[in-house]
Amino acid sequence: MAIARACDKLIAKGKKIAAHALEAAEGDIEFADGNFSVAGTDKAMNIAEVAFTAYVPHSYPEGVEPGFDENAFFDPTNFSFPAGTHICEVEVDPDTGVVEVVKYSAVDDFGRLINPMIVEGQVHGGIAHGVGQALLEGCSYDSEGQLITASYMDYAMPRADNLPSFDIDYAPTNPPDNPLGVKGCGEAGAIGAPPAVINAISNALGVRHIDMPATPETVWRAAQQAAAVSA
């Protein structure tokens, strides 16, 4: 939002510069698609030309400072609240405790998506991070305080073969206190995935709790206990 406000300031300044250079009234300058144009004519300068003029001001309006950068500060009157639902299907091998994530669906409300490709990447990375936390990643120390998961030979990072293809969609709503209509999305996957994965395992085993990371041995022991209880 602060970026949008800074851009608004730059556009206002650019209109002054373009009006002077194009010998038109400032009120007649329109800005669209990176171009400053005089309304109703084919006279125009693109934003690069305006920026160049701003720094090499041989034709420049009086009273306007050279330069083409602006600052803005945005203090929202209220937060925006992203939300979503992540659903995960797992297959548990009761003989070994190995958990395979076979299907993962997520629908999130991130408000308006400015760059959908980046949003999708954020969700993918977040889910991978969350599945890693749920199934694989854990720091272990020995009795003398030595970290024994200090390399990737011992610290299990999620890899491509730990993950299915994700099914991702969006259900945007408009946050009233953010004029751009945007919300945060960076951590959604990492927040949604651990409970989705752990709930799926708990559901499969018929247990109420299982500690993260749900390693094969942890899951195998939980399956053994569940079988003993139901026997």
Binding site: D95, T96, L136, G138, S140, I148, T149, Y152, M153, D154, Y155, A156, M157, T215, P216, E217, W220, R221
Partner: protein, 264 residues
């Protein structure tokens, strides 16, 4: 890494001679274990004798009902070999699942068994298939070759030349991977050869070994029905953050059952 002398040789005889002249020499095959160990300063040989140029140590052939794999044959070459795939498909698959592509393209059969990492894959196959390790000095039966964690029957100046695998009637390898390193937490190779069923176990204990209790339960048949009742000595099992001794003992039986089923 500490300083060392690098020796490139082109024959087994020259390699042995270089080793005998070295103060504290080491042979290097693919270097997939040796070089990281030296980089971590856990090994500091005076001389590194590179077997990479010894042509006589490379190659795959089938002779007299035996598959013979040269010690310097890479895992990738074994995995991709039509002869191995036809003679012992389980061995080709095992080689194709060792480490990652970089390891498979550099790492070798001889290097793997001479190093005898207790979580390496090949030792299980060498044992279960009743292979014979041909060295620069003698022929060593598989069961006498692996003597302890990172220990083998090899003498300091002895080089693995090839491994001779009798062709089995059926064979399969099942590996339970460490989720981080992808080494075998437990690997079980089951082979039926000449009417006898053998079980080779790696990862589970300090030393790759024959699963004699498991073999007794199988009784020469590819029928896993008796495996659940086998009691394995938990106190001999490795235990670490990824798998306790009790869980490893359980996994040995699960992997044995799955390997037996895959044999059929």
């Amino acid at each position: 890494m500490y300083e060392f002398n690098y020796r490139k040789v082109d024959s087994v005889a020259a390699a042995v001679e270089a080793m005998q002249q070295a103060e504290d020499g080491k042979f290097v095959a693919g270097g997939q274990t040796m070089l990281p160990t030296m980089k971590h300063r856990l090994a500091s040989p005076s001389d590194l004798i590179d077997l990479g140029g010894v042509a006589e140590l490379t190659g795959i052939s089938v002779e007299n009902e035996n598959l013979i794999v040269g010690a310097m044959t890479t895992h990738a070459a074994v995995a991709a070999s039509a002869e191995v795939q036809q003679a012992i498909p389980a061995l080709a698959r095992l080689a194709g699942n060792i480490g990652d592509p970089a390891v498979r393209n550099r790492g070798t059969l001889g290097g793997s068994i001479a190093n005898h990492d207790p979580a390496a894959d090949y030792p299980a196959a060498v044992i279960a298939l009743g292979a014979t390790v041909q060295t620069s000095k003698r022929a060593i039966p598989a069961e006498e070759f692996f003597t302890g964690m990172f220990e083998t029957a090899l003498e300091d100046d002895e080089i693995v030349a090839s491994v001779s695998f009798p062709l089995p009637e059926a064979a399969a390898y099942m590996k339970f991977e460490n989720p981080a390193s992808r080494y075998a937490i437990v690997g079980v190779f089951v082979a039926k050869t000449g009417g006898e069923v053998r079980v080779g176990v790696t990862g589970a204990t300090a030393c790759a070994h024959r699963g004699l209790r498991l073999e007794a339960a199988l009784g020469g048949e590819l029928d896993a029905g008796g495996i659940d009742a086998v009691e394995l000595p938990v106190e001999q099992m490795n235990g670490d953050i990824h798998a306790s001794a009790e869980y490893r003992a359980h996994l040995v039986k699960v992997m044995t059952k799955r390997a037996v089923e895959a044999c059929q």
